[in-house]
């Protein structure tokens, strides 16, 4: 939230509203209206009245349910893996300074700069059939590993890679609230690393972990590019499924139904995430 301006500039009221009008209208037209329209348009049909047939179809269709189930467990597993991968790095960065720590941070944030298409491309060159991992294994006379490419593991690895930086930043901002003094006091009293982590650090960063998980769930539940390029064709995650239903099957009603179902599954996480950002913003100035 932003504080009230300290002094009024110009005309205030009307000119302020006019200046923000265009982006606000765009938001209403292309975010809030589509969401509303998706809910209403999949339930109410002019001339025919209410019908939940497309939802009944989704939840009775074995293929749709398999896609939903795949999406649920890939989302859960990837969110947890992202936090698990980012946590040790975050802890290290919180309690260390110096040139090596700075390098570790730049490397860990590096995926922020790599667009998903390129991640997919690079991933296939490394973990795909006859990729560099296979090459190195053969070079040391080890058998090739089964490639995760076009398996559920494919998008999971790609998505963890892609999501590491933002998860790390969210955890780091939480760790900023843990004072070095309290950790050192516990250490002086003989507490080991695990005790310090579970008893001192974890309780203070709980909310950051929840926000990180919520943020990850929102991004992962309808992830499209990486699951499409790296994942299996059947069953498929909700992102590719919606795309195929909309474009290939030219079936906007069922695609929108699937979209509303993803909204419903993510509603709680959306609320947690947005509330956390809004609250953080309040602290600014």
């Amino acid at each position: 939230m932003i504080s009230a301006p300290r002094s009024r500039v110009g005309g205030g009221g009307l000119s302020g509203l006019l200046l923000v009008a265009l982006p606000v209208l765009l938001l209403l037209w292309l975010v809030l209206w589509p969401v509303l329209q998706a809910f209403v348009g999949t339930l109410y049909f002019p001339g025919k009245g209410f019908s939940a047939a497309s939802y009944v179809y989704f939840f009775s269709d074995a293929y749709s349910l398999r896609n939903l189930w795949l999406t649920l467990w890939v989302t859960a597993l990837t969110s947890i893996l992202r936090v698990a991968a980012a946590m040790p790095i975050a802890l290290y960065l919180r309690f260390r300074t110096g040139s090596i720590a700075a390098l570790v941070q730049s490397l860990a944030l590096f995926p922020l700069f790599v667009p998903s298409v390129l991640v997919a491309y690079a991933f296939i060159r490394v973990l795909g059939p006859n990729g560099i991992v296979d090459t190195l294994l053969v070079a040391v006379h080890l058998p090739k590993l089964p490639s995760p490419y076009l398996q559920p593991a494919g998008p999971i690895i790609g998505l963890v890679w892609e999501g590491l930086p933002l998860t790390l930043l969210l955890l780091l901002s939480g760790l900023g609230r843990v004072s070095t003094a309290s950790v050192e006091a516990a250490r002086d009293l003989g507490a080991g690393g695990v005790t310090i982590f579970t008893r001192i650090i974890l309780p203070r960063i709980q909310s950051s972990i929840i926000v990180a998980l919520a943020f990850n769930v929102l991004g992962l539940f309808s992830a499209f590019t990486l699951p499409y390029l790296l994942g299996p064709a059947s069953p498929e995650m909700m992102g590719p499924y919606m795309q195929r239903t909309f474009s290939d099957n030219a079936d906007p009603l069922n695609a929108t139904t699937q979209a509303v179902i993803t909204f419903a599954f993510c509603a709680a996480f959306g609320l947690i995430y947005v509330r956390a950002i809004a609250k953080g913003r309040k602290g600014l100035r």
């Binding site: 932003i2 570790v104 590019t225």
Partner: protein
Amino acid sequence: MTDIARLPPAGALSDLRTRVRRREPVDWTGIAFLTGLAIVILLPLIVTAVWAFAEVWRFPAIVPQRMGLGYWQETLTRNDVWQALWLSLSITTTVTVISAAICFPAAYAFARLDFPGRNVLFLAFLSVQAFPKFGLIVATATIFLTLHLVGTFWGVVLIQLVGTLLYMIWIPVSAFQGVDRRLEEAARDVGAGPMRVFWSITLPQALPTLAAALLITFVSTFYETDAAWLIGLPNVRTMPMVMISFINNALEVQYGAVLFVFLWVPSFVLMLAARRVMGADAFAKGLGG
């Protein structure tokens, strides 16, 4: 470091601590993280970059059998590549210009003017983040269908424009709020009008952050894939779509690798500059964090 300064000064404990710290100058944990991250993060990118210069690289050789620029010529003379590049650049420029034209004045209003509903409207831009992105794109696509915007230039521009609203407003708001008010008041005191103050004092101070926001918008719109795919195809084929067709059609590996080096490396350098201006935290927020 500040916490250490708060410890009792000149105590035996802190002396001991400094000595202990001096005796372990090698940060082995850091080196372990560095090695692990270098392999996981950099190796895929380096391998792809090497592919761009490999003319022959047959399994199971560890290094390419023949290096050269042959595939550069072959890739960069492809018609689909140039068409997509010009299309992507014009869509991206259009989105960035419109976004700046409508968002920067709005950001100034949010930062400086008092009007009814100011906080609510400001926070409303967060609502984009509350929905799973691709679901929102599908919902919008359904509306675009009735407006005949699917598969058109302006359809892609509009949907990508919405994606830029949040950070093109939130980042500049911080920039305008960060401007030193005393300078503005001093200028006002010596007789400068409001417009003069804005052009000579406010804008120059906010400019680096505004430029960084523009750059982030440009680069992330250029590589935007999800919306361009659903709304744009089959008529509007942007650069990421061409790269995806290279992946799907299993054409020569090098085509995509050449584009990777040709397009991504320049944008990477620019993004590093933007990050320097804004700091990692604000930067991450800009990217949807």
